[in-house]
């Protein structure tokens, strides 16, 4: 289905939900204020639903707002977002009956940072970006250039296993098969795995020395739903609220362990990082570890217990003395 067609159906669905009082809020995407951006639209107003959009730039994982809005919400969700929603249901943060999921089968989203790197131009210097299947056409200075889609999709999209929402009330379009490149998706992780332990630690040390502790990675993450994060605890003071690499690194390690089994590899933490820290090299690794060790994939079954509240009598014994 074309984006345009999907949008029209979305407008209709969203409007109906509000009109019939099935939901109090609609959470979706509208066109952003800058080129090639979208921005979350959280509204009670039926007339606003005409502003909803679906395009290759709907990056935000909107489920982060579900724990915040009061009342029932109709939410637009891509594959990964729907799994975050399921994960929140598993954790009893939200109730399934309070959410109407308008699922978007997602063919992958375009990573503007990659586009910028490919063309050596900033996003606002580009004229147009369109996508047709496995080809992305980018117009710059009036000239159109083609690129294979795999070159400009987000790394996490390249590794996406479930582009179609796992849980939905309405599905806008046919289940999609995203164009993936599993090797490219985890290339940076592989690079890290190949080097020595000391080098890995030094790598992260370097990366986290740039962190300014804006907490965008945490606040944008639907799995980070704690009312009060351990970094804000003062008794005991687990780590200093001062951006030094030691504290930054510790924060990120603990955050990753805390969201193990909740992270759906939506890639938001890495996308929002203003310092370009490759956070997905941590989250994705955790995602894989959880899968390898416990055959658990986050947000696949709303009736399953969350990873860290469950156990098998015999599992992961090898390291126990």
């Amino acid at each position: 289905m074309e984006d345009r067609e999907r949008e029209q159906r979305l407008h209709h669905e969203a409007k109906t939900l509000l009109e019939q009082g099935q939901v109090d809020y609609i959470i979706g995407y509208e066109t952003g204020s800058l080129k090639f951006t979208t921005t979350p639209l959280i509204t009670k107003d039926e007339d606003d639903t005409d502003r909803l959009v679906v395009n290759p730039f709907i990056v935000n994982n909107l489920s982060v707002y579900l724990t915040e809005v009061k009342g029932k919400a109709g939410i637009v969700a891509k594959g990964c977002d729907s799994r975050s929603i399921v994960s929140l249901i598993q954790d009893n943060k939200i109730a399934r009956e309070d959410i109407v999921i308008m699922g978007i089968p997602c063919p992958g989203l375009i990573d503007l940072k990659k586009v910028e790197l490919l063309l050596g131009k900033d996003r606002d210097e580009l004229d147009n970006i369109t996508r047709e299947g496995d080809k992305v056409m980018i117009t710059v200075d009036g000239k159109e250039k083609d690129f294979p889609t795999t070159e400009v999709l987000f790394d996490n999209c390249l590794g996406c296993e479930f582009p179609t929402p796992q849980e939905y009330d309405v599905l806008l379009g046919e289940p999609s098969f995203s164009i993936t490149d599993k090797v490219a998706s985890r290339a940076r992780i592989k690079e890290l795995e190949a080097v020595s332990q000391g080098k890995r630690w030094n790598f992260w040390r370097e990366e986290f020395s740039r962190c300014i502790r804006c907490y965008a990675c945490r606040n944008v993450c639907p799995a980070c739903f704690c009312q009060r994060c351990f970094v804000e605890e003062t008794e005991p003071l687990w780590l200093m609220p001062v951006p030094r690499w030691q504290d930054n690194l510790m924060f990120q390690v603990v955050r990753n362990i805390h969201v193990a089994g909740r992270c759906t590899d939506c890639g938001e933490c890495e996308r929002v990082c203003p310092m370009n820290i490759p956070l997905r090299s941590l989250t994705r690794k955790m995602y894989e570890l959880v899968d390898e060790m416990f055959q658990y994939q986050a947000g696949m079954d709303k009736n399953a217990p969350p990873l860290l509240t469950a156990y098998e009598p015999t599992e992961a014994e090898d390291f126990m003395r």
Partner: protein, 142 residues
């Protein structure tokens, strides 16, 4: 005059109060010798140990962390040690990927009657830590 003293690793142990702590106690009562490298924090259950504790211990300069609890099926709270095991497995693997030497994160099942096993675990872990060397992970800029 200063003498070259052999470096001794510092180990932080989180021992569950029902089994492992009692096991450590027994080791002491029966005058079993084990390395004095371990500092012990008594926890109600191995399931109480948040991975945060482990990383904080490393951050504070401990060379290794040992989490010890009841055997599977013996947990005073039924399932606490199962949860601990899952969490520890993840923590250990993840930290290894980050670049922490796997020997620094240790876990064991020690029952209240296993004073001998406790001594053995502490000795083995201490030996391993000696091989790995001092914890330089968070050094500098403090």
């Amino acid at each position: 005059m200063e003498q070259e003293v052999e470096w001794e690793p510092k180990l932080l142990g989180f021992l569950c109060r029902w089994c492992s702590y009692a096991g450590a106690d027994l080791a002491g009562i029966s005058r079993k010798k084990y390395p004095a490298n371990i500092a012990v924090i008594k926890v109600p259950c191995s399931g109480r140990v948040d991975p945060l504790f482990i990383i904080k211990a490393l951050r504070l300069g401990f060379d290794g962390v040992l989490v010890s609890g009841c055997y599977p099926g013996d947990c005073h709270y039924q399932t606490g040690n199962y949860h601990a095991r899952r969490r520890l497995a993840i923590t250990k693997k993840f930290l290894e990927y980050m670049g922490v030497e796997p020997q620094r994160i240790q876990a064991s099942w020690v029952s209240a009657s296993e004073g001998g096993k406790f001594t053995k675990v502490v000795s083995e872990v201490t030996k391993e830590l000696k091989e790995v060397g001092t914890n330089q992970l968070f050094a500098d800029g403090r």
